[in-house]
């Protein structure tokens, strides 16, 4: 009996039973069946309070909402395809976590015969101004890692079910409707226009570029190290938000230039957005060499003279003394005009009222009141 209880098949059966019962009893695993948790990771990660506070005081949650995960891009990727450092349950302390350039899922990728990896795009990112290590510390920790921008996007949120007429056509050759359905979702998400909106792009960029503490940290470090920092780095986000492009984008207009329209190489957009370069790099779309071409993408008649127009206008004296002075002058003129006009209007009102004018023209005249200048209306009512 004891031998039976310690046999591998028995332990596996027991594990399955425990998982099944605990999922059912807590309800936390509702929908867990929507993706294949072959390795029983949800046995622990289904608990909503599975979390800790790190030594730095950061709250880290390890909860995997199975129902939501089942609708994400990675739904069919077994956990250990990415978390390949997990060798046993319960697993050891995670040192580095998942790197986005490691080879991972779709190990039986029929298209290439190779394991799938984000390495190609990761290598572009590694050359960009944003490049950092997964667990970077210090100033590099301010830079975005892949997951700063790419959460695990929900699978086709706008399309609950594929169109029947398309599935019908696919089924002529691919008999398994489930396979067709999943393949449709997998590919349509990439084929359909799912590019981020202007508002979303700006929201991602300003999350860091409008963070004053982060900006100061990097300015101070650059000063200490004597290395150059982009002239517009401190006001990149705020000046964009005050620009016409920034304002209409904030109102939801798609088509006005966002950060990526200028700072990413739009000829190969998805490569370009991962390889943002500083403007002093000649390869950058906003470098002196490429700026005219970049402007021409929207402003067809742009030339060298147009390329020096500031796309990040600032009224701050430090960045644009001309604009600062002009705004000051307009401010003074505005105050003088308002004061003068209000004063004149009040003066005129008092002066004419003293002479007997009324507010409204009634019975043919507005001069029915008594004048303090003893020149009253002669003709009686």
């Amino acid at each position: 009996m004891m031998r039976v209880m310690h046999s591998k098949p028995f332990l596996r059966l027991l594990a399955v039973l425990v998982i099944g019962v605990s999922s059912y009893s807590t309800g936390a695993g509702a929908g867990a069946g929507a993706f294949e948790d072959d390795e029983a990771c949800l046995m622990c990660h289904k608990y909503i309070r599975m979390a800790r506070i790190t030594e730095e005081g950061v709250f880290r949650s390890y909860y995997v909402p199975a129902g939501t995960f089942a609708k994400t891009v990675h739904r069919n990727v077994p956990c250990r395809d990415c978390h390949d450092y997990i060798k046993q349950l319960p697993h050891r302390k995670v040192e580095e976590g998942v790197r986005c350039d490691q080879e991972c899922h779709s190990k039986k990728n029929p298209a290439t015969g190779k394991p799938f990896s984000h390495k190609a795009i990761y290598d572009l990112y590694a050359d960009s101004v944003h490049a950092r290590d997964k667990n970077a510390t210090g100033l590099d920790n301010d830079k975005p890692y892949c997951v700063t921008c790419h959460t695990n996007p929900v699978y086709n949120p706008n399309e609950a079910e594929p169109p029947k007429e398309i599935l019908d056509r696919c089924e002529l050759c691919h008999e398994k409707r489930d396979f067709v359905r999943q393949w449709y979702f997998h590919t349509s998400r990439r084929v359909l226009d799912i590019k981020r909106t202007g508002q979303e792009i700006v929201a991602i960029c300003i999350r860091c570029h409008a963070d004053q503490e982060l900006i100061e940290r990097h300015e101070n470090a650059a000063d200490e190290e004597g290395r150059p920092l982009g002239k517009k780095f401190p006001i990149a986000a705020t000046s964009y938000q005050k620009s016409f492009h920034g304002k209409v984008t904030r109102y939801g207009l798609d088509g006005a230039a966002t950060c990526l329209d200028c700072h990413a190489d739009n000829a190969k957009y998805y490569e370009g957005v991962h390889k943002i370069l500083p403007s002093r790099n000649p390869e950058s779309p906003v470098s002196q060499q490429n700026r005219v071409e970049t402007c021409r993408r929207c402003h067809e008649a742009a030339d060298e003279k147009y390329a020096i127009v500031d796309p990040h206008p600032s009224f701050d004296e430090e960045f644009n003394p001309v604009l600062h002075k002009a705004e000051e002058i307009y401010g003074v003129v505005g105050e003088v005009v308002v004061t003068a006009l209000l004063g004149l209007s009040l003066f005129e009102t008092i002066g004419r009222r003293r002479d007997g004018v009324g507010w409204r023209l009634r019975r043919g005249s507005t001069w029915w009141r008594r004048s303090r200048r003893k020149r009253d209306r002669i003709i009686p009512r």
Partner: protein
């Protein structure tokens, strides 16, 4: 009434330009002699129609005003939510107008109409001036072009308001306030069109300007468009609306922008020189004034005319 030197000269000039016949000249001069020396008594006692008695603006000017003020206000309504994007009302207000996709189309369409209105105005005043010159009736004092007299009028008016003068100055068809307003509006219009075009065609402007100017030009236009709009709105809100809606005697509004006519008392008070021209050009006004003076004696202020017939009310 004994006219001032400048009023006498203007009256004779008007009669000459209008080729006024001798009998009419005599009628006008007699009429003026019958007027009280104190002009204040004239406009305090005269009868006016609230919607206007005397011609002031042609249908063209009224149409231009209508086009300009409707487009201006709507341009401000569609533009201000962009300028004041952080204000609590900006986004709901923009959404109420249809959102940015709609308001940007409205803004540009209205800007085109405003430009049309401005061109229409330039054509009208140019054509009107040429026509007056051809007829030999052109008098620069009757135009909105400012002169030194306006400065004197302004000073005298201030002295009147402060109680140090008994009369307001004899002002022409357009007084100093209207001239300031007109040129402020013209300047504002010019700046708005100029800067608006700089936003719409920034690359073309940069190409047309000398090297190095493009950046400064675009910077200044960015400031100018929003601040000029605000300034214009403030002037409209505080001053123009005060003068035509809120000022004593003008409340709740002057009808001139719709009827093209000004009330008699207003013309006599603020545009007396133009009223003298009215006497030359409008026989019906001479008849009215004659009848009025037949009924009322305005020469003795202290003695009200008891039992007099009601003053004749003009038609219209």
């Amino acid at each position: 009434m004994k006219l001032s030197e400048q009023a006498t000269e203007l009256l004779h000039d008007a009669m000459r330009r209008n080729k006024t016949s001798d009998p009419e000249r005599e009628e006008i001069e007699t009429l003026i002699e019958r007027l009280p020396d104190d002009r204040v008594l004239l406009y305090k006692n005269v009868v006016s129609n609230p919607i206007g008695d005397l011609p002031r603006y042609s249908i063209h000017i009224r149409l231009q005003h209508l086009l300009t003020f409707t487009t201006f206000l709507l341009l401000a309504f569609t533009g201000l939510p962009v300028y004041f994007i952080d204000a609590f009302w900006a986004e709901p207000f923009s959404q109420m107008l249809g959102g940015i996709d709609v308001t940007r189309v409205i803004h540009r369409t209205l800007a085109s109409i405003m430009i049309f209105s401005m061109l229409y105005h330039v054509v009208t005043i140019t054509g009107g001036t040429i026509y007056s010159i051809v007829l030999g009736k052109f008098d620069i004092r009757r135009t909105v072009i400012p002169g030194l007299k306006d400065l004197r009028d302004m000073k005298e008016d201030m002295l009147y308001f402060s109680g140090r003068r008994t009369q307001r100055p004899e002002m022409d068809k357009f007084m100093y306030k209207q001239k300031i307003h007109y040129f402020a509006a013209a300047f504002g219009n010019f700046v708005m069109i100029f800067s608006g075009s700089a936003f719409l065609f920034p690359d073309i402007w940069a190409g047309a300007l000398p090297g190095g100017w493009a950046a400064y030009f675009q910077d200044i236009m960015r400031i100018a468009h929003s601040h000029e709009a605000l300034l214009a709105l403030v002037v409209i809100a505080f001053w123009h609306w005060y003068n035509v809606h809120l000022a004593p005697g003008r409340f709740p509004m002057q009808w001139t922008f719709l009827t093209g006519k000004i009330t008699r008392e207003h013309q006599m008070e603020e545009h007396f020189l133009e009223y003298l021209r009215n006497l030359v050009e409008l026989p019906e006004e001479r008849r009215f004034l004659s009848t009025f003076l037949d009924h009322f004696d305005l020469t003795e202020q202290e003695r009200p005319v008891v039992g007099a017939d009601p003053a004749p009310v003009p038609e219209g």
